[in-house]
């Protein structure tokens, strides 16, 4: 058992402890076990941070590797390992796990035992997905995540929870089964090919190893790449969610309990973008370039559309949900710039979005617990009644809209730089359109803030609410500390990302580092490596 397995299965063990050893009426004990599990898991995962070798390249870039035979006759291995991208996402997951558990203390009043069990199981599924280096294993974890989330939305959700839960489930499932077919096609190409379609395989032993697919990806004929990419696209784009596939997201977010929304926004949506970064781009470089323009156009539509729809929302949670569509559009845009700058910004923005949007959902959850309404019209002048809450909300909103010195700015700025410089785009116009999204982002968040916190405190209901308590303050301060850290000193994160991002760029654009020798220093290193 290596460290990654420990991190993955600690939540599962905690879930089993709750399931079998804690009485269902003892809510306090259930919370204690769940919190302890989440905290221990986070502390253990922190161990990865100092022990991660940031300079490693090639196959050594995948660290803390553990490989066991799982289903030998199919070539399926139980293969765990993380690079810098996975590292950040694993840390984000374990961290948000604590936030999700602690934020549920007062939000969840019935069936606590099942709730915390499911929440911890979900945690295991998510960490496993980020660690898996075998496609079969990845798919198993990917699907395992669905079921707990379905129950979390469906049991503890709002008024239309049944509809939202099944919609979430079916949308994601439909996408992921198509991804399964793409995985199979990769397997066949690596193995014996598909004689029926006159596709010659490479004749390698059958495997689902992601690293092996990275090696052979560029050998796949572009026509086949196109179809495989399409399968991946449906699987990941629904999860992101990209523009025409986003309709499940507002429903799921609005109906889910606070912790469900936090996990959904912070981690589950990242599964889609992570899938693109980890699989679609490096394995299918030709198809990536072939489909670049449609995907970027969809991302831009997502950015602008998400922001415009956010502007007109009456429900705070729905507003934040649509803002996710806009933010994830940025992530996709940076990724498909296909240069190190854009990709780094893209991965960093995944983390940022998790923190900022997670914080916004948390805050909306706080106020919902007090007033049981999320309609903006029910509020006004809250800053007088809840000054601390107002301050916290302001920081979270500013971080989300990308104010300098907070995390959102770093991500969005890097993405825009990457998009503007992108040779793959060949035009500045994409970056310009995306910049409109930033302006609109400031508009809907500030307008929301204005309507909720300023003006007269004219609703008598609002005059009775209490300000945040210590538990809530602690949660938010932890998130804000991260926002400021990333906003002021993002270098440690960029350091972790440097090698993996270069690796992906090299896979997609093998000649990138030859063409642009002076973009940034890492390119020199790459040429040295290539020369050897």
């Amino acid at each position: 058992m290596g460290i990654l397995n420990v991190i993955t299965y600690i939540p599962l063990i905690g879930a089993l402890v709750i399931l079998f050893f804690v009485n269902r009426n003892n809510a306090r004990a259930i919370r204690v076990v769940a919190t302890a599990t989440a905290v221990i898991d986070f502390l253990v995962s922190l161990w990865l941070w100092p022990n991660f070798d940031r300079a490693a390249t090639g196959v050594k870039m995948w660290q803390f590797r553990e490989t066991y035979n799982w289903i030998p006759s199919l070539g399926v291995k139980y293969d765990f390992g993380i690079d810098g991208i996975s590292l950040l996402l694993v840390l984000l997951t374990t961290f948000m796990g604590i936030i999700a558990v602690v934020s549920s203390y007062t939000a969840i009043h019935h069936r606590e035992k099942e709730y915390y069990t499911l929440l911890l199981m979900l945690q295991t599924g998510m960490i496993g997905t980020f660690c898996a280096l075998d496609f079969f294993l990845f798919y198993v974890f990917w699907e395992i995540m669905l079921v707990p989330m379905y129950f979390i939305i469906g049991i503890w959700g709002g008024a239309r929870k049944l509809y939202a839960a099944i919609k979430f489930f079916l949308y994601t499932l439909a996408g992921s089964v198509l991804m399964l077919l793409s995985i199979l096609a990769l397997y066949f190409f690596n193995d014996g090919g598909i004689s029926f379609l006159n596709i010659k395989g490479l004749g390698n032993p059958g495997t689902f190893s992601v690293l092996q697919f990275h090696e052979i990806g560029h050998l796949i004929p572009p026509s086949l790449q196109f179809w495989i990419f399409l399968g991946f696209f449906f699987g990941f784009a629904i999860k992101v969610p990209m523009f025409p596939f986003h309709t499940w997201l507002p429903d799921a977010h609005v109906e889910a309990p606070t912790a469900g929304s936090i996990i959904l926004a912070a981690v589950l949506l990242k599964m889609g973008t992570y899938g693109f970064v980890r699989f679609a781009l490096p394995i299918l470089p030709d198809a990536t370039k072939q489909l670049l323009v449609p995907i970027v156009v969809l991302s831009l539509i997502g950015i602008v559309y998400g922001a415009l729809v956010s502007l007109v929302q009456k429900d705070m949670k729905k507003l934040v949900a649509y803002s996710s569509v806009s933010h994830l559009g940025f992530v996709m845009l940076g990724m498909f710039a296909l240069n190190p700058m854009g990709l780094r910004g893209s991965v960093l923005q995944m983390i940022n979005h998790g923190i900022s949007t997670g914080a916004l959902f948390l805050l909306v959850g706080f106020i919902y617990e007090r007033r049981h309404t999320r309609l903006i019209a029910d509020y006004g002048g809250l800053a007088k009644q809840m000054p601390v809450f107002a301050a916290l909300f302001l920081v979270a909103a500013l971080s989300s809209m990308g104010l300098p010195a907070l995390n959102g700015f770093i991500g969005e700025f890097t993405i825009l730089l990457g998009a503007a410089n992108s040779t793959a785009f060949g035009t500045m116009s994409y970056a310009v359109i995306a910049a409109i999204g930033i302006v609109l982002g400031a508009a809907y968040l500030l307008w929301l803030y204005q309507r909720v916190f300023w003006g007269p405190l004219d609703n008598p209901e609002n005059a009775k609410v209490s300000d945040v308590n210590r538990r809530e303050l602690g949660l938010m301060l932890a998130l804000i500390a991260l926002m400021i850290w990333i906003g002021v000193y993002p270098k440690p994160l960029f350091d972790v990302l440097e090698k993996p991002v270069d690796y992906i760029v090299q896979k997609v654009e093998p000649t990138y580092f030859d063409k642009q020798p002076l973009t940034y220093p890492a390119a020199a290193e790459h040429r040295e490596v290539a020369a050897k």
Binding site: I71, L74, E114, V140, L146, L170, A174, L184, I194, L197
Partner: protein
């Protein structure tokens, strides 16, 4: 046939003898007194155990399978048949446990019921061992005739007799079609042995009589596995038949039909696969689409599962269409995972039926998570398995079938299959929704011994093979080796 050959028939002989004994057992008491009903279950279980021992005993003997005349041209005792025989024995034991409590709540005798089950099982044994169309047909008829009676076993209930009547009439027609196909194939090739047919076909070019024969054969078999458009009997029969009989029809009986379908098409007529693959592909696509979409609108659980079983027939057809080693392995693996998940669901339905004479409607499952937590959890696992969600065994089964379809170049069919399995989650999750997401009655349901045992076994198998599928996969590879090797030898015409 020699006395030595009779050794290979030992399991079938034991079953036939045992079934006859079960029939006369109740009147064998002293002075004509009836033997008590409660011992019927035990008698059946003992018979199954003895049969299992005899299967193991005979499996020590090695037998050549030849296309020449005589016993060995009719009856094979290969890994394929042993695999299915052992599966049937386990399934029958579980069906027996399911039936016991149910029958005792009624005025119908258990002895004749178990006797009919044993006769059906004997027929299934002949089916999976048959490598001669006559053997297969006779086995099929023995199974079918027993099933018709079983479906109408509650002879005073209108629904049950109606189901039996429909099943019988349509079943007889389909048998006739099958027989017609067999006779046409015999007319062209001059033999009924599957190897002989394959040999004869390898020298033939496509001709109408042969194609017609193969299509008739396929149509008859599609009726037996309930594939669209030969599926219309399924919902009515599943709904009307006594629930344990439905459990038997949807698992053992259906699996036996899968087995002979695979055996005939892999060993016998694989030579013309380019001609029948596309026809079966359309049948498979229709079954998956129709079965899964029709199931969405059903409020009766028995009908819902009937339609879903039509969809599952479509999935299994993927393995047959592929005509490959992986396809056959998929059929074997899928049979196992499908059977255990389905039996588990029937156990849950029966549990509700016996407790409160409910369980047929989706609404009856409301609040089950509070009333019977174990059953609700087990039910979720079974439904996930049928839907093919990891880490349940159903995923492994579906994986093989999709793999086989993609590998055989039927990518479009695989796309339909995966999308339909997403659709199927919609109605499977209607039950999950009722059990966990809706609050219903709160009174706990008392534990029930034998039903609980069935559910526990099914749960264990479903989870175990989901997480550690290697033993099942390897066994399927070994068991299917001979049949798959026949299909691999083919020399496709026209290419």
């Amino acid at each position: 046939m020699t006395w030595g050959d009779a050794l290979f028939l030992l399991p079938e002989l034991v079953l036939a003898l045992g079934a006859s004994l079960l029939l006369i057992a109740p009147v064998s008491g002293r002075g004509g007194a009836r033997v008590s009903e409660s011992s019927a279950k035990w008698a059946m279980l003992v018979l199954l155990a003895v049969t299992a021992v005899s299967v193991f005993l005979t499996s020590w003997g090695v037998q050549n399978i030849t296309p020449t005349r005589g016993f060995r041209a009719m009856f094979a005792f290969d890994g394929f048949s042993i695999f299915f025989k052992l599966l049937f024995l386990v399934v029958m034991a579980l069906v027996t446990l399911l039936s016991d409590g149910y029958l005792r709540g009624t005025r119908y005798s258990g002895w004749e019921y178990y006797s009919l089950l044993a006769f059906a099982l004997c027929g299934m044994f002949f089916m999976v061992s048959g490598i001669h169309l006559a053997t297969i047909y006779i086995g099929l008829e023995l199974m079918s005739l027993s099933s018709y009676i079983l479906a109408g076993y509650f002879k005073n209930e209108q629904k049950s007799t109606e189901a039996a009547m429909k099943y019988f009439v349509l079943g007889a027609v389909s048998s006739a079609i099958l027989l017609y196909g067999i006779s046409l194939i015999y007319g062209v090739t001059g033999t009924l042995n599957l190897l002989g047919i394959a040999n004869a076909m390898s020298t033939l070019v496509t001709n109408d009589a042969l194609m017609f024969g193969i299509m008739m054969l396929g149509a008859g078999l599609c009726f037996k596995i309930a594939a669209a458009p030969f599926h219309v009997w399924t919902p009515d029969v599943y709904e009307g038949a006594p629930t344990p009989v439905t459990a038997f029809l949807s698992t053992a009986s259906k699996t036996a039909a899968f087995a002979i379908f695979a055996r005939i098409f892999y060993v016998g007529v694989h030579h013309f696969r380019l001609d029948w693959q596309y026809v079966l592909a359309i049948v498979a696509a229709l079954s998956m689409i129709l079965g899964n979409f029709a199931a969405i609108t059903q409020d009766n659980v028995k009908r819902m599962l009937a339609y879903s079983s039509i969809g599952h027939a479509g999935y299994v057809l993927l393995g047959i269409i592929a005509v490959s080693e992986m396809g056959l392995r998929g059929i074997l693996v899928y049979s196992v995972v499908y059977v255990f998940a389905t039996l588990g669901i029937w156990a849950t339905v029966l549990m509700l039926q016996q407790q409160e004479y409910a369980g047929e409607r989706v609404d009856d499952f409301e609040g089950l998570h509070r009333r019977a937590p174990f059953w609700a959890f087990a039910m979720v696992v079974f439904l996930l398995s049928l839907g093919g969600i990891p880490p349940t065994a159903g995923f492994i089964g579906k994986y093989f079938l999709f793999y086989a379809a993609v590998g055989a170049g039927f990518g479009w069919l695989a796309v339909i299959a995966v999308l339909m399995s997403a659709v199927s989650m919609f109605f499977y999750f209607r039950l999950v929704m009722a059990m966990y997401l809706r609050e219903g009655r709160e009174d706990p349901i008392p534990a029930q011994g034998s039903l609980r045992l069935v559910a526990a076994v099914c749960l264990l198998v479903t989870l175990l093979f989901g997480v550690l599928p290697s033993p099942l996969i390897d066994q399927a590879r070994i068991s299917g080796r001979w049949v798959a090797s026949r299909a691999a030898m083919l020399t496709p015409n026209g290419r």
